[in-house]
């Protein structure tokens, strides 16, 4: 194997075409093939030589990545003038182009308008180097503090759970051996390891502290104090040392769901689902082993016939939606070819959907569960059923009044179907949208579907209009569930993952928990993109003062018509009306990690809901790409 690689290395020589291209670029029109070959061999050799020298600088710089600086230094060693202007820290954005039978990689140099640079606000001053001390180990035991990595990495949890015998075998891992020679050793570390490894995981004991923690957390999660619950869930979602308690949590949840479904205790079910969510959010936990307990609990919350005492009043629909999202999330994360979670879940949902005797509540759950699995599932499993479901809804709506509950159920199913199918249809179905056609294809629901599709198309067009150069991908929206049991407001319109395009100059520092330098994130951040229908777009710097509406400061910076300039971070805990927007302006508001109270923003009149393509509810995490601010922080 090594041999093959080496042989390949040996033959790597720059193509003669590049020599020709380079010759042309310096004005040598025709270069003979032989000269090209000789040149390319020489150049290839020199490049290899320089790369090998540059590696030395990388090693001494104690890095794993070769930087342009290393190459510069290697060139300096050879008494060659370094190449200037390649100071990109992370990657060199070479572009690829082909044409006229040639393929080229080149470095794109854009023309930059100076006024743009002058007008953009200065990037943040890079943070200075600082020193922070923490305990990596105390008397040989690594304390479980945020500065240290999780005590047992996920991979090891996995091997422990899948091959429990292997962990005990000495010499398999570095740590494995410790216990073999550590007999009689009274060091706490050795003790801890022995306990952990010698006993099967299912019976091992929790320390007193862990038991206390477990008690506190579970009580807080199902208790009455919302603040406490938020704290507890936060702890579950971030704490790196929970893996030992995982079996308890999983049992707690599955038992809790079983009991509370019978008792129709909606509130508790919601609390438990939020616990599941928190567990799934914790990146250090290896959940795969406990899916057999968690998935049935979640599915129960989706499709159970009755989840609350007063089905006509309580908003159990929101719980179903939330659980369905959880289900979709776990399918995405855990589904493999061996466990086939996604296909098994899909089968279950489809089966009860096809059953005529299924209740409206369960029907709603099935559809929600399927819809969350993605567009493909909607297309293949739900859309063909539209006419059947339509007929069923029609029967309830138009028929004799059977019961109020049925009617509400049918109504919910209808809006759910419309919501999910509209965007899929908008994408798959060719124009034009004729109501009659829709009616023929989809039956009773056709009319309403048609109007929804038209709306969806308009929205997509609007988004396309705001597209600029760079794509900012927004990861899976984070479902939030608030405890509003009244009204239909909880489940709102479009919460599909969307792609927002923003200009590349956008400076966005996402605060990740992993970076100790960043301050803890404020409650809510908004990015307001403003565009007007007219030719000139404006850039708004809006600062929302957290205290009062009306006192907010708005400064408008004019910019070039073509580029939609950014964007502001609004940091505010409470809401307030933004004063003085132009009548024609539209806003896209993306809320960063949302607090449950932030939703009222919508009603404050700033954003007409028809023009806001992204629901405020979908809290969106913006992944930080290589932002200019980050660039400037790096040393040169």
């Amino acid at each position: 194997m090594a041999e093959e690689r080496r042989q390949k290395l040996c033959s790597v020589i720059l193509p003669t075409e590049s020599m020709k291209a380079m010759a042309e670029s310096v004005g040598v029109g025709s270069l003979q093939e032989e000269s090209c070959l000789a040149l390319s061999e020489e150049v290839s050799y020199r490049i290899k030589e320089i790369a090998q020298d540059a590696l030395k600088f990388m090693h001494h710089g104690k890095r794993r990545k070769l930087t342009t600086g290393d190459i510069d230094h290697a060139l300096k060693l050879k008494n060659v003038e370094p190449l200037y202007g390649f100071q990109s820290q992370e990657f060199i954005p070479f572009r690829f182009a082909s044409g006229g039978g040639r393929e080229l990689h080149f470095y794109e140099e854009k023309e930059v308008d100076l006024s743009d640079i002058i007008n953009t606000p200065l990037p943040r001053v890079p943070l200075d180097v600082s020193l922070k001390a923490h305990w990596l180990s105390i008397d040989g035991v690594q304390p479980a503090i945020p500065e240290n990595p999780p005590p047992v990495p996920k991979e090891q949890q996995k091997t422990d759970s899948t091959e429990p015998l292997k962990a005990v075998k000495p010499g398999q891992e570095e740590e494995g051996s410790i216990q073999t020679k550590g007999q009689g050793a009274n060091s706490a570390e050795v003790k801890g390891k022995e306990k952990m490894r010698m006993k099967p995981r299912s019976t091992h004991e929790l320390s007193v502290e862990q038991q206390l923690y477990y008690k506190e957390i579970t009580e807080a999660c199902v208790g009455s104090c919302e603040a406490k619950r938020a704290e507890a869930l936060q702890s579950i979602a971030t704490d790196p040392g929970l893996y030992q308690m995982l079996p308890r949590f999983s049992t707690f949840i599955s038992e809790g769901v079983r009991v509370n479904v019978v008792q129709n205790n909606l509130a508790l079910l919601i609390y438990l689902m939020r616990m599941v969510k928190a567990l799934m959010d914790n990146p250090t936990l290896y959940l795969e082993k406990y899916l057999h307990e968690l998935i049935p609990a979640v599915v129960t919350c989706i499709v159970s016939k009755q989840l609350c005492l007063r089905p006509d009043v309580d908003n159990h629909w929101a719980l179903r939606d939330f659980a369905a999202r959880l289900m979709a999330q776990s399918c995405k994360t855990f589904s493999t070819t061996t466990n086939n979670i996604q296909s098994r879940i899909t089968k279950t949902f489809t089966k009860s959907l096809l059953d005529d005797k299924t209740q409206w509540t369960t029907r709603y759950g099935c559809i929600a569960g399927l819809a969350e699995l993605g567009h493909d599932v909607i297309k293949t499993l739900i859309i063909p059923r539209l006419s059947v479901e339509g007929a069923r809804i029609k029967a309830v709506m138009d028929g004799p009044v059977v019961s109020n509950i049925d009617k509400i159920g049918a109504d919910h199913v209808q809006s759910l179907l419309l919501k999910h199918c509209a965007c899929v249809v908008a994408k798959t179905r060719p124009l034009p949208d004729m109501v009659d056609q829709y009616k023929a294809d989809y039956g009773y629901l056709g009319t309403m579907l048609c109007s929804h599709v038209v709306k969806a198309r308009a929205q997509a067009a609007f988004q396309a209009q705001t597209v600029n150069r760079t794509t900012l991908t927004i990861t899976q929206p984070r479902p939030t569930l608030s405890m509003s049991q009244s009204g239909l407001s909880a489940s709102s319109g479009s919460r599909t993952p969307s792609i927002i395009k923003v200009p590349s100059s956008l400076t966005l520092m996402s605060t990740r928990p992993g970076t100790p330098t960043q301050p803890s994130p404020p409650a809510t951040k908004y990015i307001v993109m403003a565009t007007s229908a007219g030719a000139a777009s404006t850039q708004q710097v809006i600062t929302l003062s957290s205290s009062q509406s009306g006192s907010s400061v708005t400064s408008t910076v004019p910019s070039t018509p073509t580029s939609l300039q950014p964007l502001v971070k609004l940091e505010s805990g409470t809401t307030g009306a933004v004063s003085g927007p132009r009548p024609l302006q539209k806003y896209i508001v993306v809320s960063l990690p949302s607090s449950s109270s932030s939703l009222e923003n919508k009603g404050s009149g700033v954003i007409p809901s028809s023009t806001s393509p992204i629901s405020m509810e979908s809290a969106v995490k913006l992944e930080r790409s290589e932002s200019p601010a980050a660039n400037t922080q790096s040393p040169h």
Binding site: A2, E3, R6, Q7, L9, C10, E41, E42, S44, Y45, E49, Q52, K56, F57, H59, H60, G61, K62, R64, K65, G69, H73, L77, P126, L127, D128, V129, S130, L131, K132, A133, H134, W135, L136, S137, I138, D139, G140, Q142, E147, N148, P149, P153, P170, E174, G176, S177, I178, K181, A185, N186, S187, E189, G514, P516, T517, Q633, S634, P635, H636
Partner: protein
């Protein structure tokens, strides 16, 4: 450049000083006179002991002629006297060797030397330009100072000309596979030993083909046989595979090294006889010639070595070390501690501590002093290297040290140290070097942006001394004058030192905490004052990046090593190096002083560790066995052992006295950048790029080796594969590579590294 030009001058000056002066000139180091510091010439040492006697003499004669030609008559006299050469002897040798007769003057001298290096090439009628430089080239390993002359432009053609003739290119493959078949068919016990031949033969045959412009044959040869080579030669093969043209050979340092130094193999007599018989039967002159010319086969009597024994020792660029090289006596013992009167009130609790006791009893000091000398026969003479006198502040520090050491925690497998990790935040991958002061009060970091930053890790802030004008006003007699000279306004937790013009790759604090050294890509080593936080001296000498620097444990001296493949010994008050340690075949990547300051260890990209005698700049140990560039070194506190860590993630333990590998610690998955023994030497801590700190039971590792073994046998050892048992603990950091490790005087382990957000 300066150094290169100064070469001959220095040579001259150094030669005049006799070694006897040294023993006298111990005191008065601050007197700034050259005689007070190290001054004996490295040249007085005979060239590497391994060479046959005839060669020695020829070498000496060549040097004499060179000196003569440069009108260095005094040096000639000294050398002649010391070498015991008569004038006539020299003359006759010159005529014998030149072959071309005396007529050609300068060229004749050179040819006489070349005749032994390229015997076969003499047959080829190829004429070559011979410069006087070329002599030097051949002797560069032996004569460090002359090496400097030639360093910039080694006359490649001469070095390579040995490749010029030889047989039919297409037959090379036949030769090689013939040998391969033979070696594969011999008895198992010989096969492993003879397999060592593959790599050097492969390289030389390939280079020969390339040199003679048989490009396609060379490529075919490479493709066919490169896969057979041991995996640890991968890096060199990568370089080799890029070389396809004769022109490329010029200026490629790695290959020049391969040529100029003979690849050393250890082979048992039986195996060697077997090989010799085979080659003679087959009339395989091609391979026989290469073996004769380019390889040095160190034959030993006894059992052939096993594959694992061979593998553990091989891997360096130029094969294993010749056994003779490691025979020199090394005084690895510690120097006697100076007697210091310890304040009486501490006497009681310190008397319980056994180690501290002998040093502190003032009344008994004379008898104790002589006793401790007797006790350690391996310690060098106290004044072998002139050391600076202790100042009052040093004595205070020593007392502090002793007080602290009484509170030291005894470490062991059941009592692991606590680790405090200093994380550099927002360093953006720019942190390149870290050092702590011995008392763990200050921390220095070298950065890729050319700055050096100093932090105080205690609540005491860093203050500058007041300006000269302000200092004049201060009452000098007052008790707190030391406090008064500090400028309170400048107090801060950290200070930035600007001055370098390239990444700072090494930093080292002086033991008295008054100075800081930094070495950088810009080719300089800088000395900074920690009183004024300004640069005091820029030591220029390395013209290329300086990878590492380290202060002597007694201060005053320091060593630096860099890309120019030499390590240099400096004294802080001399702007030129006192010693140049030349011999490494590639970059010197790390440098460390022995605890007794008489020796310097250097690790290199050529995958060897060398130990140098500070007294005469001789290389006294060559330690081979690493499979990658060495990036960290640590001496055990008792001076007996050395640990080295390399890019292959292994730590090797060496017994300095015997010059043998005694342990191998496997476990790290990436380059080891930090190694440190605990204050008592019981625990070895290693820090690596793989974001872990590992603790090893060094006591156990050293105990398990039965030292009697090595003296009796031919020096091969069975390494127990017990890394797992020796590993006491492993601690992951959160994506923070470990750049430096330091044990405080109380045996708390401090680690440092830059957080890497990716």
């Amino acid at each position: 450049m300066a150094a290169v030009q100064d070469g001959p001058m220095e040579l001259d000056a150094e030669k005049e000083a006799k070694p006897e002066i040294l023993s006298d000139g111990t005191s008065n180091l601050s007197g700034n006179t050259a005689s007070g510091t190290l001054s004996s010439s490295p040249l007085t040492a005979a060239p590497a002991g391994g060479a046959p006697k005839m060669e020695d003499q020829q070498t000496l004669i060549a040097v004499l002629q060179f000196l003569k030609r440069n009108k260095l008559s005094e040096s000639v006299e000294i050398l002649r006297r010391e070498a015991g050469l008569g004038e006539h002897q020299e003359g006759s040798q010159a005529t014998d060797g030149s072959g071309g007769g005396k007529g050609d003057g300068d060229g004749g001298d050179a040819n006489s030397l070349l005749s032994r290096v390229s015997i076969t090439s003499a047959a080829a009628p190829q004429s070559m330009p011979v410069k006087s430089d070329c002599i030097i080239n051949i002797f560069r390993c032996d004569l460090p100072f002359m090496f400097m002359l030639s360093e910039d432009q080694p006359d490649v053609s001469v070095v390579l000309s040995a490749y010029s003739q030889q047989g039919d290119p297409p037959l090379y493959q036949v030769y090689y596979s013939g040998l391969k078949n033979f070696i594969e068919s011999v008895l198992d016990c010989h096969r492993a030993e003879l397999s060592q031949l593959f790599y050097p033969l492969f390289v030389h045959m390939y280079l020969e083909l390339v040199y003679n412009n048989h490009e396609t044959e060379a490529k075919a040869f490479f493709d066919k046989f490169s896969g057979d080579q041991e995996c640890y030669y991968q890096d060199d093969l990568h370089i080799l595979c890029g070389l396809t043209k004769k022109e490329h050979l010029k200026g490629n340092e790695v290959l020049l090294d391969f040529r100029t130094s003979r690849f050393v193999l250890h082979i048992s007599r039986d195996s060697y006889q077997l090989l010799k018989r085979h080659l003679q039967e087959r009339h395989n002159n091609q391979i026989w010639n290469i073996i004769q010319e380019h390889l040095y086969i160190d034959i030993f009597d006894g059992m052939p070595r096993s594959k694992s024994q061979i593998d553990s020792m091989s891997g360096s660029l130029a094969g294993e070390a010749k056994r003779e090289v490691n025979k020199a006596k090394v005084f690895y013992g510690l120097l006697k501690e100076p007697e210091i009167e310890v304040p009486l009130d501490d006497e009681d609790d310190e008397a319980e501590n056994e180690e501290g006791k002998p040093k502190k009893k003032k009344t008994k000091k004379d008898s104790l002093g002589s006793k401790s000398k007797k006790q350690d026969p391996n310690a060098p003479q106290q004044n072998r290297i002139p050391l600076p006198e202790l100042k009052d502040s040093d004595k205070l520090d020593k007392i502090m040290y002793m007080k602290e050491s009484t509170k030291r925690i005894r470490l062991g497998p059941e009592n692991l140290p606590s680790i405090c990790f200093y994380t550099f935040l927002n360093a953006f991958q720019g942190l390149t070097a870290v050092d702590f002061t011995d008392d763990s009060s200050l921390l220095a970091g070298g950065f890729a942006d050319s700055t050096v930053r100093v932090w105080s890790v205690t609540p005491k802030k860093l203050r500058k001394v007041k300006s000269a004008g302000e200092l004049n006003v201060i009452e000098k007699e007052s008790d707190d004058v030391l406090e008064r000279i500090m400028d309170e306004k400048t107090a801060s937790e950290s200070k930035i030192l600007h001055g370098h013009s390239g990444p700072v790759y090494g930093v080292s604090f002086s033991p008295d905490r008054n100075y800081l050294l930094s070495s950088s890509e810009d080719g300089t080593v800088r000395l900074w004052s920690l009183q004024t936080f300004t640069c005091l001296v820029g030591y220029k000498g390395h013209n290329y990046p300086v990878w590492d620097t380290h202060f002597s444990p007694f201060g005053y001296y320091f060593v630096s090593g860099g890309h120019d493949r030499v390590a240099r010994l400096w004294a802080t008050d001399h702007y030129q190096p006192l010693r140049i340690f030349a011999g490494h075949l590639a970059d010197v990547t790390c440098t460390r002083f022995h605890p007794n300051s008489n020796y310097v260890a250097t690790g290199s990209t050529d995958r060897t560790v060398r130990l140098w005698d500070v007294l005469n700049a001789n290389c006294v140990r060559i330690l081979t066995g690493h499979k990658g560039p060495i990036h960290s070194l640590a001496f055990s506190p008792n001076g007996k052992f050395l640990a080295s860590g390399s890019t292959d993630g292994r730590v090797l333990l060496w017994d300095i006295g015997h010059g043998l590998m005694i342990g191998e610690l496997k476990g790290h998955t990436d380059t080891i950048y930090a190694l440190k023994f605990s204050r008592d030497g019981e625990i070895l801590a290693s820090g690596s790029m793989d974001n872990t700190v590992r603790l090893w039971d060094s006591m156990k590792a050293f105990d398990e080796v039965e030292t009697d073994d090595f003296t009796a046998t031919t020096g091969h050892i069975h390494l127990p594969d017990n890394s797992q048992e020796l590993l006491l603990g492993m601690y992951h950091s959160k994506s923070t590579p470990v750049t430096h490790l330091h044990f405080t005087r109380r045996n708390l382990l401090l680690a440092a590294g830059a957080y890497n957000s990716q």
